[in-house]
Subunit: 337 residues, 2 copies
Amino acid sequence: MPANKPKKRANLRDVASKAGVSVATVSRVLNTPDIVQKKTRARVEHAIAALNFHPSAAARAINSGRTRIIGALVPTLDNDIFAQTLDAIEQRLRDFGFSLVVATTAEDPEVEASRAKELIDIGVEGLILSGTSHSSALVALLERTRVQAVAISYFDPTYRYPTIGYDNLDAARLAMDHLVGLGHRRIAVIHSPAAHNDRTRARIHGATTPREDVTTACFEAALSVAGGCAIVDHILRETPLFDAFLCTTDVLAYGVMFELQRRGFNVPGDVSVMGLHDLPSAREMVPRLSTVRLPARQMGRRAAEALAQWVEDDVKPEPQCFACALKDRESTQARRR
Amino acid sequence: MPANKPKKRANLRDVASKAGVSVATVSRVLNTPDIVQKKTRARVEHAIAALNFHPSAAARAINSGRTRIIGALVPTLDNDIFAQTLDAIEQRLRDFGFSLVVATTAEDPEVEASRAKELIDIGVEGLILSGTSHSSALVALLERTRVQAVAISYFDPTYRYPTIGYDNLDAARLAMDHLVGLGHRRIAVIHSPAAHNDRTRARIHGATTPREDVTTACFEAALSVAGGCAIVDHILRETPLFDAFLCTTDVLAYGVMFELQRRGFNVPGDVSVMGLHDLPSAREMVPRLSTVRLPARQMGRRAAEALAQWVEDDVKPEPQCFACALKDRESTQARRR
DNA sequence: AGGCGAATTGTAACTAGTTACATAATGTGA
DNA sequence: TCACATTATGTAACTAGTTACAATTCGCCT
């Protein structure tokens, strides 16, 4: 068989020789078409089409030193806790001409560091991290590569990277204030695994700040609706019913509420349930879930634009704390006398 | 002020001269360290550390012609319909050494085509599409650039790109069979916007295939839990209660069920509700949602590995259809006589 | 017709790596 | 101690673009 054409992708030189012009002219047609004479341009464009030419992003990146890619490291894509934030990030990054690469960390700092390394290896110009619990390897890596990073879902103005988030402790306290204000005294705090998760720890902290006459008991559940169901099952096996359940995330609150209802308890008649996040369905369920609204979309938007501007114009963003808001709905009510 | 150091990122040449070796040696230390003498290697590594050197991904890509990036185009990240699939894709791609770039299309083929263009411009080696409704611009683009693509969430072995999904029509029919088998005769089909969405249309089609004695009425709702609530509100305003609601996605079923319950209807006592997807919380809610399980994770895994192998070894994957399974739970029951 | 300046286009040197091939250094056996 | 094979390293030419600068072309005015 005769050597069949290697069918290699055409490059700029191929186009230039086909069109009978120099590489510079082709490059101009690509980048500043208006400074090229119409006739020449047409010839080049014809050659481009004929050769099926597509410029190589890598070669461009090598010259500009820019990839216009931002990476986001999130614990998991498996539930919708990050959905709205990621959606907002992706859309806002686009406004600035950046693309988003996503990697999941499974809530493990070592995994996170290695994912970060991979992202940097593919050339991301900035990273969006979740929270502030990161391995020293990650910090060293960012230091070394001078890749910019912002941390979301947490607020700590003293942190080495700008944090763009909300006050988790305060959000939980807001929820607890509400429950205590309704007269509840024995409150179960249901939280997701707290290891390596400063956001969860802050929420637990906010929920368990000692208060007169109030007793709290913490229970760790798997971060899923099923996890919320399971922990209720566990609790009811061991303990008399609490006055109220404070869940550090809506996902758990869903499970808790479902399981309580399944067992015949009336929410909020027999027991109040609070969530934290205000996922889209929280206000649609029955009863509508009382929760603390986290500014997920706002935060995503702001983090995206802050990072984009940092990368683009080298203006380090200020840390920013968005307010959380109590959403008093139907899953909580005053304690029965 | 004296010319401050440009602080440019060090490159391979800098490292070479600092270590007193050639660029080839530095490259070897990076890629095949074992063929470099220990002493030399140590010297180079020291220089690398001293200069804070990190190889440029772009320069590597230019040589290998590889970026090891795969792009995924999904309608939205806003709800959790794609969460599990994306999670599975991301994880499986990692096994093959690929990263995932995500872009959202807002269910609009024109937007999709332009996002695809952007992804290809940043150098993705393959694309994961949702369904088979795509603009001719997108098809032409893929043709031109010879970027491989697989389509998920749909099965059509005749489609120009390999489809790795499930039979939407059949899934809906499965649900309808179940409802009809339970004796329901007046059935409302609640679906998300069908424009440009072959998956939704196939489901509607499957749900509305004429059957003796059965009447169906279709209602389009916004794709959200709130959309499901709103459509129930609308329906109850106009029409006597249906025997059953068949929702073409669990997200809508959640809303439908919540709103029915809120209005005092007993599900499934007064009316049955079926979903389609089997999202993680479907089996946890009260009553547990009867639905048809879509193989979201499996499909994501398979799509990722199929595309990875296609890109890597040039073996075009076979279309693949995963089975859907009826999940008969508590939100459906036989029609009251 | 010659000169000037603006508009186009071309040449070649960059960007930051990889790698084929050549060369140098070392080790081993006769 | 020489021959030969290994092993280690260097040189320079690649990859695919961008761009500073030089050269050419063209129109227009005198």
